[in-house]
């Protein structure tokens, strides 16, 4: 098994521009240490109809109320400002930005675990996993942790609705092919949505997912924790 950079087509080049927008890294960095309530704020504001900050302050009184500690309120303000900046990119660009934020957040959390965010470090983006005698998958993995001892691959989704058979099959195939080479490859789906909604989606899927880990909005901090 080996990892390889994915070839970039026109769409990937455009998307790379969004991934490189400093707003993506800034919002992801704010989400790294966010509470579950703050993550809901980000999800709601990035997907809202209205982009006036006061609307969202009223919807989340526990984050912005007078009783809220100044430090916590300040953090929520930064998160809200960045989330609304994504929303203000317009309906067409929003979905790309949101996807890029989930990927960047995943990469930053994994980098926190490994202690290295270097471009040539173990946490990489847009990589394929190649196996001897097996045709390469069409879609690269969003984030990979390329450890010799215990490699990991991640597919990232903004919402539970993005979970489908193709995604689950690709992850499970990679895990199975690695096992054929006597390697343990951790495969996971990161979804910036409620665990319950993800499980509802998964329950209707017939794809093999027994070996695929789900990391939902409520569990994101676990990505930064050492695996057992």
């Amino acid at each position: 098994m080996r990892f390889q950079d994915a070839a970039r087509d026109g769409r990937a080049i455009v998307y790379a521009g969004i991934q490189a927008d400093p707003l993506v890294a800034r919002l992801a960095a704010l989400l790294v240490g966010a509470t579950v309530a703050e993550r809901w704020l980000a999800r709601a504001a990035m997907n809202g109809e209205r982009t006036e900050a006061d609307v969202w302050r009223r919807i989340f009184p526990t984050l912005f109320g007078d009783d809220t500690a100044a430090e916590r309120r300040d953090r929520a303000e930064q998160l809200l400002e960045a989330s609304l900046a994504v929303a203000n990119r317009g309906e067409a660009a929003r979905s790309s930005y949101r996807g890029a934020v989930v990927e960047e957040l995943t990469a930053q959390l994994l980098a926190a675990r490994t202690g290295s965010a270097a471009p040539d470090g173990p946490v990489r983006r847009e990589r394929r996993v190649l196996f001897d005698g097996v045709a390469a998958e069409i879609h690269p993995y969003d984030v990979t942790l390329e450890s010799d001892a215990r490699p990991e691959v991640y597919d990232c989704k903004w919402g539970a609705r993005g979970i489908n058979a193709d995604v689950l099959n690709q992850l499970d195939d990679a895990r199975a092919h690695a096992a054929e080479e006597d390697l343990s490859l951790d495969v996971a789906l990161v979804v910036f949505d409620a665990r319950r909604s993800c499980e509802i989606r998964l329950d209707r899927s017939t794809a093999n997912r027994a070996g695929t880990r789900l990391v939902a909005l409520e569990d994101l901090a676990t990505l930064a924790e050492r695996r057992r």
Partner: protein
């Protein structure tokens, strides 16, 4: 019916309207139905679980503002996304941690 009951009732009605819009995406009818089946009882039960701890004025205003927000949605695909988000934000407004139905949903 007290204020908290009425607000929970309005939230449930807004959720139902969101589901009606989302159902127009034929391919996702099952997912929409599953989401409503999973979350609607929790929204309806919020008032019951707050009988001894009425919703604060800020919490009530938050739910009404959220209802106004989802009432602006016209895109059924966005409505599907909000079917997952809305219950958790309502639960936060009610002073919870965003989970509906207990620790198993965390």
């Amino acid at each position: 019916m007290n204020d908290t009951d009425q607000i929970a009732q309005r939230a449930a009605e807004a959720y139902e309207a969101l589901a009606d819009l989302a159902e127009s995406v034929d391919d996702e009818w099952q997912y929409v139905t599953d989401l409503v089946d999973a979350y609607m009882p929790g929204i309806q039960a919020l008032a019951d679980s707050h009988q001894d701890r009425p919703l604060t004025p800020e919490g009530a205003a938050a739910v009404d503002e959220l209802i106004a927000e989802v009432g602006l949605i016209t895109d059924p695909h966005k409505a599907i996304d909000w079917l997952s988000t809305f219950p958790h934000v309502v639960a936060l407004a009610f002073g919870g941690d965003g989970a509906l139905g207990g620790p198993a949903d965390l």
